[in-house]
């Protein structure tokens, strides 16, 4: 990495610009949480867990292979599990503002859970209710608690064209179905997941990572699994 320049240091990854124009993602062992409890949805790094970065990368390798098999494009060029790095095409993450802050997270839900229940409690008849690949889009903004943004705001603020927005939502549902089907083969149930999407070489593609951190998974007894358990069951 002597010839590369560090361009960003995130909560779980560092980014380097490569001489060939691509980006190198270096996965870190940092974990986020609050009050000493690990929570991938939280915005504060509370410590490190050895091997965590490689596990995230291993999961991403696992799911990106399945996406590619299904013809779903990602930004991946190549991936080095030993080094804990991933080379990706340079692109424009959807929802990034002019200063490079922000960015959208595309959430897909198959049943009500977590913040969705907290927000819409009165409308939820029972926890077993199916949500038919419901998509929500949130803005990455630690200070404001990652606010939800609706389609009208995204288009009116000029953040996405209606066509790209529709493509991104369809891509989110497509990825969710692929991940759900794969988990199902292993006796696991996907509750919800989130991905990031970018415009790479003019195409709407999956970017960043797909790790156990970015999904809630239940076993056949209805128990929500630890991320490390999901990792063991899938990647071993």
């Amino acid at each position: 990495m002597n010839s590369s320049e560090k361009i960003y240091s995130g909560k779980t990854k560092d980014l380097y610009a490569l001489a060939n124009g691509n980006i190198l993602l270096v996965f870190k062992d940092d974990v986020t949480g609050a009050d000493g409890i690990i929570d991938p949805g939280a915005n504060t790094v509370i410590g490190q867990v050895e091997g965590k970065g490689r596990k995230s990368l291993g999961m991403t390798d696992y799911f990106f292979k399945r996406l590619h098999s299904a013809g779903v494009p990602t930004h991946l060029v190549n991936l080095d599990l030993e080094k804990g790095t991933m080379e990706v095409r340079r692109g424009e993450p959807l929802g990034k503002d002019i200063n490079g802050a922000g960015g959208f997270e595309f959430v897909c839900r198959t049943r009500p859970w977590g913040s969705f229940i907290r927000r819409y409690q009165q409308y939820i008849r029972d926890a077993e209710q199916k949500l038919d690949y419901l998509v929500e889009i949130t803005v990455k903004d630690d200070e404001r608690g990652d606010p939800l943004i609706n389609d009208d705001s995204i288009v009116t603020l000029g953040l996405l064209t209606p066509a790209h927005l529709e493509q991104a939502k369809q891509l989110t549902r497509h990825v969710c179905r692929i991940v759900e089907a794969d988990l199902s083969e292993k006796g696991l149930t996907l509750i919800d997941m989130k991905i990031e999407i970018g415009l790479v070489d003019g195409e709407i593609v999956v970017i960043d990572e797909i790790s156990a951190d970015a999904m809630r998974v239940m076993d056949d007894a209805g128990k929500v699994l630890e991320h490390s358990t999901v990792y063991e069951r899938l990647v071993g």
Copy 2:
């Protein structure tokens, strides 16, 4: 009102069931706010302002007449400014849950202001930016701070059909344009407003009230006006 039964006591209105099947809305002088400061967006009644109920009713009378002239349907049957009451057709407020709680508020914005700026600050280039009748839908839920809900959630939770949702959003924009044009004739600028919508006799119509409380209005010097000033300028 001897022959009528009180069916609901709200923050600013009481509701009575009339013998003819309609509902009587009785406007109250209660005002909401926090820390002693009146804020119509707040959820706690902090006191009373004499004549406030009649002013809200006067504004509603003013705007409902304009909506009716423009062919926009409302639930209004008749209105008594002296008594501070309004008789309306019985209907189903959109977004009410099975227990009668909740209900949607349809917000229409012509420029960024208030919570919209707080949520999407990083995307807003300047305060003069036009928002082209952007619609947001929120759930009336005091405890949860009236959370935003997106179209996908509304449809997936079975709260509205896609057709009714589209009609309701179009109605919201239509009402906003009518109110904006009327204010403009008086040298005033509409920033944003909110309405409630119901399904009455199988039709999507404006319900509840349209008062100064439910809109932000600027004068030609760019100053946001007190609600009582808006009332004086329009109804006198």
